[in-house]
Amino acid sequence: MDTTRRGFLGAIGQVSIGAAASVAGADPAAAETGAPHWGMVVDLRKCIGCQACTVACIMENAVPEDAFRTHVSVYELVAEGQDPAMVMLPRLCNHCDDPPCVPVCPVGATFKAESGEVLVDASRCVGCAYCVQACPYDARFINHDTQTADKCTFCFHRTQAGLLPACVETCVGGARNFGDLNDPECEVARMLREHQVSVLRPEMHTNPNVYYIGLDEVLDGRVAGEAAYRPPFDAAPARHGEGL
């Protein structure tokens, strides 16, 4: 049985946080050293599906053509007897406290940073893609330019400079919220105290640091992006009539 801090909560699929001392993701040891423990709280009631985060991430991080480090899946949810409803689900690396991607790395290139990010040291990565396979959030890919594993870094280069991750800075609806889970004064810690939150793939017991407000349980396993439809690009798909 999983006895980690939040594993038992994750199995239920929803996490209710009472006090700052037990804020999910908080690391008492790190709190003593003053190191932050970065986390994100995504309020799905505020996401408008504008994809500003998706594009800002691409621009900020030079994400290669065929990949995304983050994006927003857009779903049309149909409950029996009800009108269909739109759900926009921002997705990214969950920067798990128990990341399945780390132990599978044969060369130790993937690691957990002191401030909580799961990162890849590309100088060690051999591009074997075991981590890509191991990630339950489908959040990793092999960068075809560098031939190494690539993923969201929580904009490590920006947080080191005192800046917000690009996706958070540009979030039009204010859905993406970012901060130090160790700091009870922090906006994200407050949100975790005041709201019922959920995580994706709770059954994986990964202890993610990305939380959702308003996540319908039917979506908590939808991580592969397969629900959304991208029309296949066809070189000559459309015929424009010139009028009858």
């Binding site: 800002a56 990162l119 890849v120 031939q147 629900a227 459309a238």
Partner: protein
């Protein structure tokens, strides 16, 4: 989980991505290939991520700039909203790396920071420091706004003047010098080996009538006609050149094929059918909003601001709302539960819904009688109202009366004019009396004893009630497809929240009934009485104008020409034409040879008919600036071919950075600046309660080639050079008067825009503060500091520098309200009856239309019902267009947008799909009386029955979708740029018009793209 749920594959195409990456199979072999077989990134952990713009110590707030990076506040022009943004520039590479919001700007930030904040502190506001850790004043760019910087480096950008080779539209060009460009356009000649073409010098004849025997159309100079896109803050210079300099009165923008029907309907309500004022809900404080024909948080203007405010209000605030739309879109939000609700509607029938709601409000007594009873500004003030209406004013309701449909005035009763002119009359027991400072009867239907005898009169509100009662709620329900119970719920929600309820609309009104649909929706706000109230509806707070200010007069100058003549788009009274007079003399004044729209603004839609058919007269030269009617007007394909014939319009010039579908049929393409290379000042269209001016300036060096004098070749250099060559007034060394009347030069762009900035800086109660050296340095206004000092006076330049350093000028957010009211209030009365509308005759029928809100099924120009021409048995479906959050009509050249949504499948509902055996991914053919297209189907729950929906922004032939050949070298067409389909290919021409013209709304003259009659079939 007790409820069975489906997640439809292919939900909304946006955000549609197969997987994060390319998967495992292709990469497993990399291990065998050995260590680091790819490119080595800049950093082992953060890869090729951009260098941070600055570093900040979260504890102390100490800021360290990155010397290689410039951060400048300017304006995004990725859509019509024109948000204030912060641009991150790699100085050495002259390249924009990324865009974020401007925290001073309400378009990008809520709440926006105080204008007095130093630039350094504005940077701190967006970093992880202080209260909210950078999220309290989070300032954003949208998805498109983040991507469109790519347009600057678009490989298909036009950087030098082009002249066509071979026939128009053949895609063959040659580069020419700036000197040749200006000379040929000014002087004309046998420019293309096709015969002589008149140049602008010849066309600029200010005396000879453009049409012999029809002096009402003004001089030959009106034969130069100018089509513009949206005012990006540069139109004031265009208008100076065209109207006051050249002397042509013919200028139009894109509104008639954008959201013009809404604006016209709102204009009827607000009493100004030319400027078309409109209000928006106070999103942050409203309790209930009915959105119909607009999709907050999905698209619209101001897109981000509305998205931010609605997201906040539905989660943290008290807002609930309904989105009435044929298509479920991002405006609805499942996680917000009952706070947001989608209601399906049959396309183009919003007026039926609105009239049903109005009927219910009359029946339930939820109209705001106390508000509506105030007949004057004085009465409203005395009653504590924030606005007033003409609901109680009497209208002449006798068909035979020469002033039928007009308001009864004091002069009709033999009264002398009062202090405020000829008074409006209200009902009283002993007969009509002038509207006074007390309440007046809401309803009256009687006879007034005028000086010319007894005349039937009714109050405006009586006429509205009659119109609403003309249909049963059941009949309205049948027309719009919304159940009576849902209509009742909407009426009840709108009634029970009092002035904290509001109705909002916009571009979804572009149907054949669009004008009256919009007027009817806006009428609900008037019956609620919510205008100028916190939580109700509010107009834009205005701006600090650039053209007419305390420092310089950019709007007028000595020697300016007064352009004259009835407009080319026939948006004036037919009764003033020689045609009318001649027909009247023959005893048959109606129908006219074509439609006229006295209650509409300039109409690009109708210009296309005028251009092709020469009615009311022929144009000799057409200038297109950053506009694309050939892509944007439904049904234009039926006319566009004609425009390729030089005999129809002898000279076409396009000023555009790209060869779009319209510049493709030009004779010359003048390059232009893009995004962050350009100048301009804009104001919010709406949704901002405070005064706001957004400033745009070149924060990077423009990429176009240079004139001999060293200016970038763009619109400004072109117009100034033409003006100097032709000797147009208002340009040259002595052109711009300052406050003392001293004339200053207008010889380059800086002469114009920097003086505009001085006006912005000095306007209002007090000027802005002078920019500090630190502000100038941190915002990189240092880049233009030498020009500021050279052009402006010592007392002006640092204040103008502040306007650029902070990306505009913004009144503090605290000045939004005065107690419970909007501080910037709309003063004129709401028109429950609009007499200009209620008294005019349609030129093509000689008949009248209601002067109040109404539901009317779509008609063609001759007054026949569209449904009679194209009956439901043949055309059972309705096609609608909807806006994408990402793509618009000119953004396809930003490749990152196509990474997210590569194409636009045709959406249809599950029932319709089942009926035709269509599944997602199937090929379908969609046909209307105007055209056909073939595409891929996307089957959804969220589409109204009998409706087929097409996302706008795809199906391009221009922008490089096809081959472009310049000087014999071909830029091969990129099929990705041409992906998908364009609804406008299905647009209809009006079969009842003598001169060919597209189907438009009969009052507003606006294009019809919502509710095209159609049929669908599955292919293969």
């Amino acid at each position: 989980m007790s409820t069975r749920r489906n997640i439809l594959k292919g939900a909304a195409a946006t955000g549609a991505i197969a997987t994060f990456g390319a998967g495992y199979a292709a990469t497993a072999r990399k291990l065998a290939r050995g260590h680091w077989s790819g490119e080595v990134p800049a950093d082992a952990v953060t890869g090729n991520s951009a260098p941070p713009e600055f570093r900040i110590d979260p504890a102390t707030g100490e800021l360290a700039l990155n010397p290689e990076i410039a951060l400048s506040y300017t304006m995004c022009i990725g859509c019509t909203t024109m948000c204030g943004v912060r641009v991150k520039v790699d100085k050495a590479a002259n390249k924009v790396l990324r865009v974020a919001g401007n925290p001073y700007s309400p378009m990008s930030t809520d709440p926006f920071i105080d204008y007095a904040t130093s630039v350094a502190d504005s940077f701190r506001a967006m970093a992880q420091t202080g209260a909210g850790q950078g999220m309290a004043h989070r300032s954003t760019a949208c998805g498109r706004g983040n991507a469109v910087l790519e347009q600057v480096a678009n490989p298909r950008r036009v950087l030098a003047p082009l002249k066509r080779v071979g026939p128009r539209g053949a895609g063959q060009w040659q580069r020419i010098s700036f000197g040749q460009l200006v000379e040929e356009i000014a002087e004309g000649g046998d420019l293309f080996g096709e015969g002589r073409v008149a140049g602008l010098r010849e066309i600029r004849d200010l005396e000879t009538p453009i049409r012999p025997g029809a002096p009402e159309f003004g001089p030959r100079a009106n034969g130069l006609v100018w089509m513009n896109g949206v005012d990006d803050g540069r139109d004031a210079l265009v208008l100076r050149w065209l109207k006051q300099g050249f002397g042509s009165s013919n200028f139009t923008r894109h509104g008639s094929y954008c959201g013009g029907a809404y604006r016209s309907g709102s204009g009827a309500m607000f009493g100004d059918l030319k400027q078309m004022p409109h209000a928006k809900p106070d999103f942050a404080n409203a309790r209930f909003i009915l959105f119909a024909g607009t999709a907050p948080a999905n698209a619209g203007n101001p897109f981000k601001r509305v998205g931010t405010l609605v997201a906040k209000a539905r989660s943290e605030g008290e807002l609930s709302y309904a989105v009435v739309d044929p298509v479920l879109n991002n405006a609805q939000n499942g996680p917000s539960g009952t706070r947001s609700r989608w209601i399906r509607i049959t396309p183009g029938t919003d007026g039926a819904l609105a009239m049903a709601i109005i009927r219910r409000m009359f029946e339930a007594g939820t109209i705001n009688s106390r508000y509506l009873a105030q007949p004057s500004a004085g009465a409203a003030a005395a009653a504590g109202e924030a606005s007033w209406t003409n609901a109680t004013h009497l209208v002449i309701a006798e068909e035979a009366h020469p002033r039928f449909g007009r308001m009864l005035r004091g002069s009709d009763m033999g009264l002398a004019p009062g202090a405020e002119g000829d008074p409006f009359m209200v009902a009283a027991p002993a007969g009509p009396v002038p509207a006074g400072t007390g309440a007046a009867p809401l309803f009256h239907d009687g006879v007034a004893g005028t000086i010319e005898g007894p005349v039937r009169v009714k109050t405006a509100l009586t006429l509205l009630r009659e119109e609403a009662m003309a249909g049963s709620v059941e009949a309205y329900s049948a027309a719009c497809g919304i159940p009576v119970a849902t209509i009742d719920w909407l009426a009840s929600e709108l009634g029970r929240h009092g002035r904290r309820a509001a109705v909002n609309s916009h571009g979804g009104m572009m149907s054949g009934s669009g004008f009256y649909n919009a007027y009817a929706l806006m009428m609900i706000n008037t019956l609620i009485g919510n205008l100028n109230w916190k939580g109700g509806t509010m107009i834009a707070g205005g701006w600090f104008p650039d053209t007419r200010g305390p420092a310089y007069d950019l709007a007028s100058f000595p020697g300016a020409v007064t352009a004259r003549g009835l407009p080319f788009g026939r948006n004036g009274p037919y009764e003033k034409t020689s045609e009318f007079k001649a027909k009247l003399a023959e005893g048959r004044p109606y129908p006219a040879d074509g439609p006229w729209y006295p209650n509409a603004p300039g109409l690009a839609t109708e210009w296309l008919s005028s251009l092709a058919e020469g009615y009311p007269y022929r144009a000799e030269a057409l200038i297109l600036r950053n506009t694309n009617p050939v892509y944007g007007v439904p049904g234009i394909a039926h006319l566009a071919e004609r425009l390729k014939d030089p005999a129809v319009v002898p000279l076409i010039v396009s000023i555009d950075p790209f060869i779009n579908e319209s510049s493709a049929i030009a004779d010359y393409v003048v390059p232009d600046s893009v995004m962050y290379e350009t100048w301009g000042f804009t104001k919010p269209w709406g949704g901002v309660a405070t005064r706001a001016t957004c400033a745009r300036w070149p924060v990077i060096e423009p990429r176009m080639e240079r004139t001999p004098a060293g200016a970038p070749i763009g619109m400004e250099a072109f117009l100034i050079a033409l003006a100097l060559r032709l000797g147009l007034p208002g340009f040259g060394p002595q052109a711009i008067p300052d406050a003392a009347g001293v004339l200053h030069p207008l010889e380059r762009a800086e002469d114009w825009y920097l003086r505009g900035a001085a006006n912005v800086a000095l306007a209002g109660e007090a000027p802005v503060a002078e920019a500090t050296d630190e502000d100038i340095e941190m915002s990189n206004v240092a880049r233009i500091a030498a020009d500021l000092q050279a052009v402006l006076k010592p007392s002006e330049w640092r204040r103008a520098a502040t306007v650029f350093a902070k990306g505009g000028r913004y009144e503090p957010i605290g000045r939004s309200y005065e107690g419970e009211r909007a501080r910037h209030a709309f003063a004129a009365p709401m028109q429950v009856w609009n007499e200009d509308l209620g008294s005019y005759r349609r030129a093509t029928t000689g008949t009248r239309l209601p002067g109040t809100a109404a539901w009317r099924a779509a008609e063609f120009a001759d007054g026949s019902k569209v449904a009679d021409h194209y009956p439901e048995r043949d055309w059972p479906l309705k096609v609608v267009s909807y806006k994408s959050p990402l793509q618009n009509s000119y953004s396809v050249g930003a490749p990152t947008l196509l990474r997210i949504t590569a194409s636009n499948p045709v959406s249809l509902g599950t029932a319709l799909a089942a009926e035709h055996g269509i599944a997602t991914g199937d090929r379908i053919r969609l046909s209307t009386p105007g055209g056909t297209l073939e595409s891929t189907a996307l089957v959804r729950e969220g589409v109204a029955p009998g409706t087929v929906a097409i996302e706008h922004g795809f199906g391009h032939r221009g922008f490089g979708a096809g081959d472009i050949t310049i000087d014999g070298e071909t830029w091969p067409g990129d099929p990705r740029l041409g992906a998908g389909v364009l609804l406008n290919d299905l647009g209809l021409v009006d079969p009842t018009r003598a001169h060919a013209g597209v189907w438009v709304d009969p009052v507003s003259g606006t294009a019809v793209r919502q509710g095209l009659p159609a049929r669908i079939e599955r292919l293969g």
